[in-house]
């Protein structure tokens, strides 16, 4: 169980998060939706324990993220690896150093996601995104935080990534995926949390939304415009 309570975060004078609260149960796939600058990345970093909130708290199974490092993985929007590094080199680095890293699973993911074995600097954006997703999902953890995994990459890569996410979904793991391009990913979400100017403006079951005759895309426009 992930509990986010009244989280505030401010950069210099600009508030990024303004009292965000919600809880997520294991197995849930949550879409964190909002326009650029809504606070999605800041929130994911606070949940990952990479940033401390100014106020409020985050708990994963009763403990703050910094005490749960081995149970959380965060995929940043930008490629975090040096240009010269290749997926195989990174794997060699992580094996042993990161006990959550499952090398066999990584190999399967690389082949499923069709990641070429060459340095990150020589990959297309889509290839880099797929390589980073493989590295993220190859970790056996409880909480996966993906920041804009579909942004700015080609259609085929996006589709492969979505398929890999469904494939790798486990009943005991929680997945929070931020995006400002809702369309293709919406079938994956069980729940959508809409963030606007650092506040949760809507938190809803996605199927319940559809029962009211609304799609996530429509709601996105309605709520965030």
């Amino acid at each position: 169980m992930l509990e986010i309570q009244n989280v505030h975060k401010q950069y210099l004078k600009t508030p990024a998060l303004n009292g965000v609260s919600f809880t997520v149960s294991p197995g849930q796939v949550v879409g964190l939706l909002g326009l650029n600058g809504a606070g999605k990345t800041t929130l994911l970093k606070v949940i990952a324990g990479l940033l401390l909130p100014d106020q409020g708290s985050v708990h994963l199974d009763g403990m703050p993220p910094r005490k749960q490092r081995g149970r959380i993985v965060y995929l940043p929007e930008q490629n975090p690896w040096p240009e010269q590094a290749s997926p195989a080199r990174v794997a060699a680095l992580l094996t042993g150093a990161d006990p959550t890293f499952d090398r066999g699973r990584y190999r399967e993911l690389l082949s499923f996601l069709e990641v070429p074995d060459r340095p990150f600097g020589q990959m297309s954006r889509g290839q880099r995104a797929r390589a980073n997703l493989a590295l993220t999902l190859a970790r056996r953890v409880s909480l996966y935080l993906l920041d804009e995994p579909l942004a700015g990459i080609d259609l085929i890569s996006r589709d492969r990534i979505l398929k890999a996410l469904v494939r790798e979904w486990r009943e005991d793991a929680t997945l929070i995926l931020s995006t400002h391009e809702v369309g293709e990913a919406e079938g994956l979400f069980e729940r959508a949390v809409f963030l606007k100017k650092g506040r949760v403006v809507l938190d809803t079951s996605v199927e319940a939304l559809r029962e009211q005759g609304k799609s996530v895309v429509e709601t996105f426009k309605e709520v965030l415009a």
């Binding site: 197995g27 796939v29 589709d159 979505l162 398929k163 469904v166 494939r167 979904w169 293709e184 919406e186 079938g187 994956l188 979400f189 069980e190 199927e207 559809r210 029962e211 005759g213 799609s215 996530v216 895309v217 429509e218």
Partner: protein, 129 residues
């Protein structure tokens, strides 16, 4: 496997669309009594939807007596599935949409039925229509 589903997230709950899609496949004879459905996981992957949504759809199909789960083997279309009833259900839904269209144009059901017969005569070979 004769199950081809198309999901439109803007067209209502996805689990209902899966239920309707399986029923339609049975009504059209693409899925027959005793046929095995893909696993929830495989179908979720193919449709790029949350596996829980497919699991919920399968539970609903079972509740309605359309499918059954054979332990360790998977989900199957029941041998006693009432295909005629499913066909009627589907056709009735299409008829309601047709009537609605007719009404919105100011035609009564008799006039609508007359148009239906006319179209059928015109079409002759149903494959051409």
């Amino acid at each position: 496997m004769g199950l081809r589903l198309h999901i439109h997230p803007e067209a209502g709950p996805i689990f209902e669309q899966i239920v309707a899609g399986v029923k339609a496949a049975i009504a059209r004879g693409e899925l027959r009594p005793g046929d095995k459905l893909p696993s929830a996981r495989a179908l979720a992957e193919e449709l790029r939807v949350n596996p829980n949504t497919v699991i919920r759809a399968f539970a609903e199909l079972e509740r309605e007596g359309i499918t059954e789960t054979r332990r360790g083997l998977g989900t199957f279309v029941r041998e006693d599935v009432d295909r005629a009833a499913l066909r009627r259900e589907l056709l009735a839904a299409a008829a309601r949409r047709y009537l609605e269209a007719a009404r919105s144009l100011g035609l009564n059901p008799e006039e609508a039925a007359a148009v239906l017969r006319e179209v059928e005569t015109d079409a002759g070979d149903p494959k051409r229509a």
